[in-house]
Protein backbone atom coordinates (compact mmCIF):
# COMPACT_ATOMS: atom_id res chain seq x y z
CA UNK A 1 0.00 0.00 0.00
CA UNK A 2 2.76 2.36 0.97
CA UNK A 3 4.64 1.62 -2.21
CA UNK A 4 1.66 2.43 -4.38
CA UNK A 5 1.09 5.64 -2.54
CA UNK A 6 4.67 6.64 -3.12
CA UNK A 7 4.43 5.85 -6.80
CA UNK A 8 1.32 7.95 -7.17
CA UNK A 9 2.62 10.88 -5.23
CA UNK A 10 5.86 10.89 -7.23
CA UNK A 11 3.78 10.88 -10.42
CA UNK A 12 1.81 13.81 -9.07
CA UNK A 13 5.05 15.60 -8.21
CA UNK A 14 6.35 15.17 -11.76
CA UNK A 15 3.12 16.60 -13.13
CA UNK A 16 3.28 19.55 -10.76
CA UNK A 17 6.80 20.37 -11.90
CA UNK A 18 5.45 20.41 -15.44
CA UNK A 19 2.64 22.78 -14.70
CA UNK A 20 4.81 24.92 -12.47
CA UNK A 21 7.33 25.37 -15.23
CA UNK A 22 5.20 27.70 -17.25
CA UNK A 23 7.13 30.45 -18.92
CA UNK A 24 7.42 33.72 -17.13
CA UNK A 25 7.43 36.46 -19.69
CA UNK A 26 8.76 39.20 -17.50
CA UNK A 27 11.03 40.77 -20.10
CA UNK A 28 9.70 43.04 -22.80
CA UNK A 29 9.07 41.25 -26.07
CA UNK A 30 8.86 42.32 -29.67
CA UNK A 31 7.36 40.28 -32.49
CA UNK A 32 9.25 40.64 -35.75
CA UNK A 33 7.47 39.19 -38.76
CA UNK A 34 9.88 38.69 -41.60
CA UNK A 35 10.55 36.73 -44.72
CA UNK A 36 12.24 33.36 -44.66
CA UNK A 37 15.26 34.71 -46.58
CA UNK A 38 16.47 36.89 -43.69
CA UNK A 39 16.38 33.89 -41.36
CA UNK A 40 17.60 31.19 -43.76
CA UNK A 41 20.55 33.32 -44.87
CA UNK A 42 21.64 33.61 -41.25
CA UNK A 43 21.50 37.43 -41.15
CA UNK A 44 18.96 37.61 -38.33
CA UNK A 45 21.01 35.10 -36.38
CA UNK A 46 23.64 37.84 -36.20
CA UNK A 47 21.48 40.95 -35.80
CA UNK A 48 18.80 39.77 -33.38
CA UNK A 49 21.10 38.65 -30.54
CA UNK A 50 22.95 41.96 -30.92
CA UNK A 51 19.73 43.94 -30.54
CA UNK A 52 18.62 41.82 -27.60
CA UNK A 53 21.90 42.34 -25.82
CA UNK A 54 21.84 46.07 -26.44
CA UNK A 55 18.26 46.70 -25.34
CA UNK A 56 17.21 43.78 -23.18
CA UNK A 57 14.16 43.37 -25.40
CA UNK A 58 13.31 39.80 -26.30
CA UNK A 59 12.74 39.50 -30.06
CA UNK A 60 10.40 36.82 -31.35
CA UNK A 61 11.20 36.18 -34.99
CA UNK A 62 8.32 34.75 -37.00
CA UNK A 63 9.76 33.91 -40.40
CA UNK A 64 7.09 33.41 -43.04
CA UNK A 65 6.44 34.55 -46.60
CA UNK A 66 6.12 38.32 -47.03
CA UNK A 67 2.40 37.91 -47.77
CA UNK A 68 1.81 36.19 -44.46
CA UNK A 69 4.15 38.59 -42.65
CA UNK A 70 2.09 41.54 -43.90
CA UNK A 71 -1.10 39.79 -42.83
CA UNK A 72 0.36 39.31 -39.34
CA UNK A 73 1.05 43.04 -39.29
CA UNK A 74 -2.41 43.89 -40.58
CA UNK A 75 -3.97 41.93 -37.73
CA UNK A 76 -1.64 43.55 -35.22
CA UNK A 77 0.02 40.25 -34.36
CA UNK A 78 3.46 41.55 -35.27
CA UNK A 79 5.02 44.79 -34.03
CA UNK A 80 7.55 45.31 -36.77
CA UNK A 81 7.95 43.91 -40.28
CA UNK A 82 11.04 43.29 -42.39
CA UNK A 83 9.76 42.31 -45.82
CA UNK A 84 10.57 42.47 -49.52
CA UNK A 85 7.33 43.03 -51.40
CA UNK A 86 7.37 46.70 -52.50
CA UNK A 87 3.89 46.84 -54.05
CA UNK A 88 2.21 45.13 -51.11
CA UNK A 89 4.21 47.23 -48.64
CA UNK A 90 3.07 50.46 -50.29
CA UNK A 91 -0.51 49.23 -50.00
CA UNK A 92 0.13 48.46 -46.33
CA UNK A 93 1.17 52.08 -45.71
CA UNK A 94 -1.71 53.44 -47.82
CA UNK A 95 -4.12 51.40 -45.71
CA UNK A 96 -2.77 53.08 -42.59
CA UNK A 97 -1.34 49.87 -41.12
CA UNK A 98 2.05 51.54 -40.87
CA UNK A 99 3.11 55.16 -40.91
CA UNK A 100 6.12 54.72 -43.12
CA UNK A 101 8.20 52.24 -44.99
CA UNK A 102 11.94 52.63 -44.78
CA UNK A 103 14.54 50.99 -47.00
CA UNK A 104 16.96 48.75 -45.10
CA UNK A 105 18.92 46.88 -47.73
CA UNK A 106 18.65 45.11 -51.02
CA UNK A 107 20.02 42.14 -52.77
CA UNK A 108 18.87 40.68 -56.03
CA UNK A 109 16.90 37.84 -57.41
CA UNK A 110 18.60 35.27 -59.53
CA UNK A 111 17.05 32.88 -62.00
CA UNK A 112 18.50 29.47 -61.25
CA UNK A 113 18.11 26.24 -63.14
CA UNK A 114 19.67 22.94 -64.19
CA UNK A 115 23.19 22.88 -65.61
CA UNK A 116 22.03 21.64 -69.01
CA UNK A 117 19.70 24.67 -69.33
CA UNK A 118 17.01 23.12 -71.55
CA UNK A 119 15.36 26.48 -72.32
CA UNK A 120 18.73 27.98 -73.33
CA UNK A 121 18.44 31.12 -71.27
CA UNK A 122 22.09 31.48 -70.31
CA UNK A 123 23.58 34.60 -71.82
CA UNK A 124 20.19 36.24 -72.30
CA UNK A 125 20.48 39.70 -70.77
CA UNK A 126 16.77 40.32 -70.26
CA UNK A 127 15.13 38.22 -67.59
CA UNK A 128 11.72 38.86 -69.12
CA UNK A 129 12.94 37.31 -72.36
CA UNK A 130 14.34 34.39 -70.35
CA UNK A 131 10.90 33.84 -68.83
CA UNK A 132 9.40 33.80 -72.35
CA UNK A 133 11.89 31.17 -73.45
CA UNK A 134 11.12 28.99 -70.46
CA UNK A 135 7.43 29.23 -71.25
CA UNK A 136 8.01 28.48 -74.93
CA UNK A 137 10.18 25.45 -74.26
CA UNK A 138 7.71 24.22 -71.64
CA UNK A 139 10.66 23.53 -69.36
CA UNK A 140 9.83 22.72 -65.73
CA UNK A 141 9.55 25.75 -63.42
CA UNK A 142 8.96 25.70 -59.67
CA UNK A 143 6.98 28.66 -58.35
CA UNK A 144 6.86 29.49 -54.65
CA UNK A 145 3.10 29.83 -54.96
CA UNK A 146 2.79 31.27 -51.46
CA UNK A 147 2.25 35.00 -52.02
CA UNK A 148 5.73 35.69 -50.70
CA UNK A 149 7.76 38.62 -51.97
CA UNK A 150 9.59 36.29 -54.35
CA UNK A 151 6.32 34.84 -55.63
CA UNK A 152 4.88 38.31 -56.22
CA UNK A 153 8.03 39.24 -58.15
CA UNK A 154 7.79 36.09 -60.23
CA UNK A 155 4.16 36.76 -61.10
CA UNK A 156 5.07 40.27 -62.15
CA UNK A 157 7.81 38.94 -64.41
CA UNK A 158 5.42 36.49 -66.11
CA UNK A 159 3.03 39.37 -66.60
CA UNK A 160 5.73 41.50 -68.19
CA UNK A 161 6.72 38.59 -70.36
CA UNK A 162 3.11 38.46 -71.54
CA UNK A 163 2.76 34.75 -70.87
CA UNK A 164 0.46 32.87 -68.58
CA UNK A 165 2.55 30.22 -66.83
CA UNK A 166 0.76 26.91 -67.16
CA UNK A 167 1.16 23.35 -68.30
CA UNK A 168 2.74 20.32 -66.73
CA UNK A 169 6.09 21.98 -66.25
CA UNK A 170 4.77 24.75 -63.98
CA UNK A 171 4.65 23.70 -60.34
CA UNK A 172 3.06 25.82 -57.62
CA UNK A 173 4.97 24.60 -54.60
CA UNK A 174 3.28 26.59 -51.83
CA UNK A 175 6.57 26.48 -49.96
CA UNK A 176 9.36 28.61 -48.58
CA UNK A 177 12.42 29.52 -50.61
CA UNK A 178 14.58 26.73 -49.29
CA UNK A 179 11.93 24.09 -50.01
CA UNK A 180 11.25 25.52 -53.46
CA UNK A 181 14.95 25.43 -54.30
CA UNK A 182 15.22 21.86 -53.16
CA UNK A 183 12.20 20.92 -55.23
CA UNK A 184 13.67 22.65 -58.28
CA UNK A 185 16.92 20.79 -57.74
CA UNK A 186 15.11 17.44 -57.54
CA UNK A 187 12.99 18.12 -60.60
CA UNK A 188 15.84 19.87 -62.45
CA UNK A 189 13.56 22.84 -62.91
CA UNK A 190 14.06 26.58 -63.11
CA UNK A 191 13.07 28.82 -60.22
CA UNK A 192 13.39 32.41 -59.10
CA UNK A 193 15.31 32.84 -55.85
CA UNK A 194 16.75 35.62 -53.79
CA UNK A 195 20.51 35.46 -54.02
CA UNK A 196 21.11 35.09 -50.28
CA UNK A 197 19.06 31.92 -49.82
CA UNK A 198 20.52 30.37 -52.96
CA UNK A 199 24.08 31.08 -51.85
CA UNK A 200 23.40 29.81 -48.36
CA UNK A 201 22.11 26.50 -49.71
CA UNK A 202 23.95 26.05 -53.00
CA UNK A 203 26.20 23.25 -51.76
CA UNK A 204 23.17 21.06 -51.31
CA UNK A 205 21.58 21.98 -54.64
CA UNK A 206 22.17 20.75 -58.16
CA UNK A 207 21.36 24.14 -59.67
CA UNK A 208 23.33 27.05 -61.10
CA UNK A 209 22.64 30.74 -61.60
CA UNK A 210 21.57 31.33 -65.20
CA UNK A 211 20.30 34.89 -65.08
CA UNK A 212 21.54 37.73 -62.93
CA UNK A 213 22.24 41.41 -63.07
CA UNK A 214 19.14 42.60 -64.93
CA UNK A 215 18.04 45.76 -63.05
CA UNK A 216 14.47 44.47 -62.77
CA UNK A 217 15.83 41.73 -60.49
CA UNK A 218 16.54 44.17 -57.68
CA UNK A 219 15.10 42.92 -54.39
CA UNK A 220 14.61 45.68 -51.81
CA UNK A 221 13.91 44.95 -48.13
CA UNK A 222 12.02 47.48 -46.04
CA UNK A 223 11.18 47.85 -42.41
CA UNK A 224 7.76 49.00 -41.26
CA UNK A 225 6.59 49.70 -37.72
CA UNK A 226 3.01 48.51 -37.34
CA UNK A 227 0.77 51.44 -36.51
CA UNK A 228 -0.63 51.43 -32.98
CA UNK A 229 -3.57 53.46 -34.30
CA UNK A 230 -5.13 50.25 -35.52
CA UNK A 231 -3.95 47.94 -32.78
CA UNK A 232 -3.44 49.35 -29.33
CA UNK A 233 -1.54 46.28 -28.19
CA UNK A 234 1.28 46.83 -30.66
CA UNK A 235 4.59 47.50 -28.93
CA UNK A 236 5.44 50.55 -30.97
CA UNK A 237 8.25 51.77 -28.76
CA UNK A 238 10.27 48.59 -29.08
CA UNK A 239 9.36 48.33 -32.77
CA UNK A 240 10.74 51.83 -33.41
CA UNK A 241 13.91 50.93 -31.58
CA UNK A 242 14.35 47.86 -33.74
CA UNK A 243 13.76 49.83 -36.95
CA UNK A 244 16.25 52.49 -35.88
CA UNK A 245 18.70 49.76 -34.94
CA UNK A 246 18.49 48.27 -38.44
CA UNK A 247 19.03 51.69 -40.00
CA UNK A 248 21.89 52.73 -37.71
CA UNK A 249 25.30 53.22 -39.30
CA UNK A 250 26.81 50.40 -37.27
CA UNK A 251 24.25 47.78 -38.25
CA UNK A 252 24.20 48.96 -41.85
CA UNK A 253 27.89 48.23 -42.12
CA UNK A 254 27.42 44.80 -40.52
CA UNK A 255 24.72 44.07 -43.11
CA UNK A 256 27.12 45.09 -45.87
CA UNK A 257 29.79 42.72 -44.63
CA UNK A 258 27.56 39.79 -43.82
CA UNK A 259 28.35 36.75 -45.93
CA UNK A 260 31.74 37.89 -47.26
CA UNK A 261 33.56 35.53 -44.98
CA UNK A 262 31.29 32.56 -45.71
CA UNK A 263 30.43 33.02 -49.37
CA UNK A 264 33.13 35.31 -50.65
CA UNK A 265 30.54 37.96 -51.45
CA UNK A 266 28.06 40.07 -49.49
CA UNK A 267 24.50 38.74 -49.37
CA UNK A 268 22.87 42.13 -48.78
CA UNK A 269 23.69 45.73 -49.67
CA UNK A 270 22.78 48.39 -47.10
CA UNK A 271 20.34 51.02 -48.32
CA UNK A 272 19.64 53.33 -45.41
CA UNK A 273 20.68 56.93 -45.47
CA UNK A 274 19.29 59.84 -43.49
CA UNK A 275 15.73 60.77 -44.36
CA UNK A 276 15.31 57.68 -46.48
CA UNK A 277 11.65 56.93 -46.91
CA UNK A 278 9.02 56.50 -49.52
Amino acid sequence: MKETEMKWSSLAAVLLVFVGCQDHEESETLVLATTTSTRDSGLLGVLVPMFEKETGIDVKVVAVGSGQALELGRRGDADVLLTHAPEAEKQFVTDGDSEQRRAVMHNDFVLVGPRNDPAEIKGESSVVEAFRRIARSNAPFVSRGDESGTHMKEKKLWQEAGVEPQGNGYVLAGAGMAEALRMASEKQAYTLSDRSTFLALRDRLDLIILEEGDPVLCNPYSVMVVSPKKHFRVNQKAARRFANFLLSAKVQSIIGEFGIELFGQPLFFPDAHPGNMD
Binding site: L11, L15, F18, V19, K60, V61, A178, E179
Partner: protein, 218 residues
Protein backbone atom coordinates in the same frame (compact mmCIF):
# COMPACT_ATOMS: atom_id res chain seq x y z
CA UNK B 1 26.03 28.60 -38.82
CA UNK B 2 25.51 25.58 -36.56
CA UNK B 3 21.77 25.05 -36.66
CA UNK B 4 20.93 24.29 -33.06
CA UNK B 5 23.77 23.19 -30.76
CA UNK B 6 22.79 24.12 -27.18
CA UNK B 7 19.23 24.86 -28.24
CA UNK B 8 18.52 21.16 -28.65
CA UNK B 9 17.85 20.75 -24.94
CA UNK B 10 15.51 23.70 -24.80
CA UNK B 11 13.62 22.36 -27.84
CA UNK B 12 13.38 18.92 -26.28
CA UNK B 13 12.24 20.30 -22.95
CA UNK B 14 9.65 22.57 -24.54
CA UNK B 15 8.24 19.68 -26.59
CA UNK B 16 7.91 17.57 -23.47
CA UNK B 17 6.44 20.41 -21.45
CA UNK B 18 3.87 21.54 -24.02
CA UNK B 19 2.70 18.02 -24.83
CA UNK B 20 2.90 16.90 -21.20
CA UNK B 21 0.71 19.73 -19.95
CA UNK B 22 -1.69 19.26 -22.88
CA UNK B 23 -2.05 15.57 -22.03
CA UNK B 24 -2.50 16.39 -18.34
CA UNK B 25 -5.28 18.89 -19.02
CA UNK B 26 -7.00 16.70 -21.59
CA UNK B 27 -6.83 13.75 -19.17
CA UNK B 28 -8.26 15.75 -16.29
CA UNK B 29 -11.18 16.79 -18.47
CA UNK B 30 -11.42 13.75 -20.72
CA UNK B 31 -11.22 10.81 -18.32
CA UNK B 32 -14.18 11.90 -16.14
CA UNK B 33 -16.19 12.70 -19.28
CA UNK B 34 -15.25 9.34 -20.76
CA UNK B 35 -16.24 7.41 -17.63
CA UNK B 36 -19.53 9.23 -17.39
CA UNK B 37 -20.34 8.69 -21.05
CA UNK B 38 -19.17 5.06 -20.94
CA UNK B 39 -21.52 4.27 -18.06
CA UNK B 40 -24.36 6.27 -19.49
CA UNK B 41 -27.34 4.37 -20.84
CA UNK B 42 -28.96 7.43 -22.32
CA UNK B 43 -30.34 7.50 -25.81
CA UNK B 44 -28.20 9.39 -28.26
CA UNK B 45 -24.91 8.17 -26.80
CA UNK B 46 -24.07 6.40 -30.05
CA UNK B 47 -24.44 9.64 -31.95
CA UNK B 48 -22.33 11.39 -29.33
CA UNK B 49 -19.58 8.81 -29.56
CA UNK B 50 -19.57 9.20 -33.35
CA UNK B 51 -19.14 12.94 -32.89
CA UNK B 52 -16.30 12.46 -30.41
CA UNK B 53 -14.57 9.97 -32.65
CA UNK B 54 -14.85 12.44 -35.51
CA UNK B 55 -12.86 14.78 -33.28
CA UNK B 56 -9.96 12.33 -33.64
CA UNK B 57 -9.87 13.31 -37.28
CA UNK B 58 -9.59 17.04 -36.56
CA UNK B 59 -6.86 18.36 -38.86
CA UNK B 60 -4.19 20.04 -36.71
CA UNK B 61 -3.81 22.93 -39.18
CA UNK B 62 -7.50 23.73 -38.92
CA UNK B 63 -7.31 23.73 -35.12
CA UNK B 64 -4.25 25.95 -35.43
CA UNK B 65 -5.95 28.35 -37.80
CA UNK B 66 -9.11 28.69 -35.70
CA UNK B 67 -7.06 29.22 -32.55
CA UNK B 68 -4.89 31.75 -34.37
CA UNK B 69 -7.96 33.75 -35.35
CA UNK B 70 -9.27 33.62 -31.77
CA UNK B 71 -5.96 34.54 -30.12
CA UNK B 72 -4.88 37.14 -32.67
CA UNK B 73 -4.66 40.71 -31.44
CA UNK B 74 -7.62 41.34 -33.73
CA UNK B 75 -9.44 38.32 -32.31
CA UNK B 76 -11.87 37.93 -29.41
CA UNK B 77 -9.27 36.41 -27.04
CA UNK B 78 -6.61 39.04 -27.74
CA UNK B 79 -6.59 40.14 -24.09
CA UNK B 80 -4.90 36.87 -23.11
CA UNK B 81 -1.80 37.74 -25.12
CA UNK B 82 -1.18 34.05 -25.77
CA UNK B 83 -0.38 34.11 -29.48
CA UNK B 84 3.17 32.90 -30.24
CA UNK B 85 3.58 31.54 -26.70
CA UNK B 86 3.76 27.97 -25.39
CA UNK B 87 0.35 28.54 -23.77
CA UNK B 88 -1.29 28.78 -27.19
CA UNK B 89 0.48 25.58 -28.22
CA UNK B 90 -0.79 23.80 -25.09
CA UNK B 91 -4.35 24.88 -25.87
CA UNK B 92 -4.01 23.63 -29.45
CA UNK B 93 -2.67 20.24 -28.43
CA UNK B 94 -5.28 19.91 -25.67
CA UNK B 95 -8.04 20.41 -28.24
CA UNK B 96 -6.42 17.79 -30.47
CA UNK B 97 -5.83 15.26 -27.68
CA UNK B 98 -9.18 15.56 -25.90
CA UNK B 99 -11.25 13.48 -28.36
CA UNK B 100 -8.71 10.65 -28.02
CA UNK B 101 -8.93 10.68 -24.22
CA UNK B 102 -12.73 10.85 -24.12
CA UNK B 103 -13.30 8.37 -26.96
CA UNK B 104 -10.92 5.65 -25.81
CA UNK B 105 -11.84 6.01 -22.12
CA UNK B 106 -15.50 5.81 -23.06
CA UNK B 107 -15.17 2.59 -25.01
CA UNK B 108 -12.94 0.90 -22.45
CA UNK B 109 -15.36 1.80 -19.66
CA UNK B 110 -18.27 0.58 -21.76
CA UNK B 111 -16.41 -2.71 -22.23
CA UNK B 112 -16.34 -3.40 -18.49
CA UNK B 113 -18.98 -6.12 -17.87
CA UNK B 114 -22.17 -4.36 -16.84
CA UNK B 115 -22.62 -6.73 -13.87
CA UNK B 116 -19.66 -5.09 -12.11
CA UNK B 117 -21.26 -1.75 -11.32
CA UNK B 118 -24.47 -3.54 -10.35
CA UNK B 119 -22.65 -5.86 -7.95
CA UNK B 120 -20.73 -3.03 -6.39
CA UNK B 121 -23.86 -1.00 -5.94
CA UNK B 122 -25.63 -3.89 -4.24
CA UNK B 123 -22.66 -4.14 -1.87
CA UNK B 124 -23.53 -0.65 -0.76
CA UNK B 125 -20.97 1.43 -2.66
CA UNK B 126 -21.72 5.03 -3.49
CA UNK B 127 -22.02 6.22 -7.07
CA UNK B 128 -18.50 7.69 -6.89
CA UNK B 129 -16.99 4.53 -5.46
CA UNK B 130 -18.68 2.67 -8.24
CA UNK B 131 -17.19 4.94 -10.91
CA UNK B 132 -13.74 4.57 -9.42
CA UNK B 133 -14.05 0.78 -9.39
CA UNK B 134 -15.05 0.78 -13.04
CA UNK B 135 -12.16 3.09 -13.87
CA UNK B 136 -9.74 0.72 -12.14
CA UNK B 137 -11.16 -2.17 -14.05
CA UNK B 138 -10.75 -0.25 -17.32
CA UNK B 139 -7.30 1.11 -16.48
CA UNK B 140 -5.51 -0.51 -19.41
CA UNK B 141 -7.83 1.21 -21.83
CA UNK B 142 -7.72 4.49 -19.93
CA UNK B 143 -3.94 4.58 -19.96
CA UNK B 144 -4.04 3.68 -23.63
CA UNK B 145 -6.17 6.80 -24.02
CA UNK B 146 -3.46 8.84 -22.27
CA UNK B 147 -0.76 7.27 -24.46
CA UNK B 148 -2.76 8.04 -27.61
CA UNK B 149 -3.25 11.61 -26.45
CA UNK B 150 0.48 11.99 -25.90
CA UNK B 151 1.20 10.49 -29.30
CA UNK B 152 -1.20 12.88 -30.98
CA UNK B 153 0.29 15.88 -29.16
CA UNK B 154 4.00 15.23 -29.46
CA UNK B 155 3.87 14.32 -33.16
CA UNK B 156 1.58 17.12 -34.29
CA UNK B 157 3.10 19.99 -36.25
CA UNK B 158 0.37 21.89 -38.09
CA UNK B 159 -1.24 23.57 -35.10
CA UNK B 160 1.86 24.50 -33.10
CA UNK B 161 3.46 25.93 -36.23
CA UNK B 162 0.61 28.39 -36.70
CA UNK B 163 -0.12 29.43 -33.10
CA UNK B 164 3.46 29.09 -31.88
CA UNK B 165 5.25 30.53 -34.90
CA UNK B 166 8.29 28.21 -34.60
CA UNK B 167 10.22 30.99 -32.86
CA UNK B 168 13.74 30.04 -31.90
CA UNK B 169 14.17 29.95 -28.15
CA UNK B 170 10.47 30.55 -27.51
CA UNK B 171 8.14 28.21 -29.35
CA UNK B 172 10.30 25.90 -31.40
CA UNK B 173 9.55 22.26 -30.64
CA UNK B 174 10.88 19.04 -32.13
CA UNK B 175 8.32 18.78 -34.92
CA UNK B 176 8.60 22.39 -36.07
CA UNK B 177 12.40 22.13 -35.93
CA UNK B 178 12.15 19.06 -38.17
CA UNK B 179 10.04 21.01 -40.68
CA UNK B 180 12.59 23.84 -40.66
CA UNK B 181 15.64 21.62 -41.11
CA UNK B 182 13.94 19.56 -43.82
CA UNK B 183 13.13 22.77 -45.65
CA UNK B 184 16.71 23.87 -45.44
CA UNK B 185 17.75 20.50 -46.82
CA UNK B 186 19.61 19.33 -43.72
CA UNK B 187 18.04 15.88 -43.85
CA UNK B 188 20.57 14.24 -41.53
CA UNK B 189 19.84 16.67 -38.74
CA UNK B 190 16.09 16.51 -39.35
CA UNK B 191 16.22 12.72 -39.12
CA UNK B 192 18.24 12.92 -35.91
CA UNK B 193 15.56 15.16 -34.41
CA UNK B 194 12.96 12.62 -35.50
CA UNK B 195 14.88 9.90 -33.68
CA UNK B 196 15.02 12.08 -30.56
CA UNK B 197 11.26 12.53 -30.73
CA UNK B 198 10.71 8.78 -30.98
CA UNK B 199 13.03 8.12 -28.04
CA UNK B 200 11.12 10.66 -26.00
CA UNK B 201 7.85 8.96 -26.89
CA UNK B 202 9.33 5.58 -25.95
CA UNK B 203 10.38 6.89 -22.53
CA UNK B 204 6.92 8.30 -21.85
CA UNK B 205 5.22 5.11 -22.98
CA UNK B 206 7.46 2.99 -20.76
CA UNK B 207 6.24 5.09 -17.86
CA UNK B 208 2.63 4.62 -18.93
CA UNK B 209 3.17 0.87 -19.30
CA UNK B 210 4.46 0.78 -15.72
CA UNK B 211 1.28 2.45 -14.54
CA UNK B 212 -0.79 -0.06 -16.52
CA UNK B 213 0.91 -2.93 -14.72
CA UNK B 214 1.10 -1.33 -11.31
CA UNK B 215 -1.40 -1.50 -8.51
CA UNK B 216 -3.96 1.23 -8.24
CA UNK B 217 -5.18 2.48 -4.88
CA UNK B 218 -8.63 1.19 -4.00
Amino acid sequence: MPPLDGDLWSILWLSLRVSGVAVLISSLIGIPCGVWLGLSQRRGRHLLSAVIQTGMALPPVVVGLVLYILLSRSGPLAFLGWLFTPKAMIVAQTVLALPFVIGITMSSVAAVPSELPLQIRTLGASAWQCRWAVLREARHGVLLAVAAAFGRSISEVGAVLIVGGNIQGHTRVLTTAIVLETGKGDFAFALALGAVLLLLALAVNLLIARLQRGRWPA
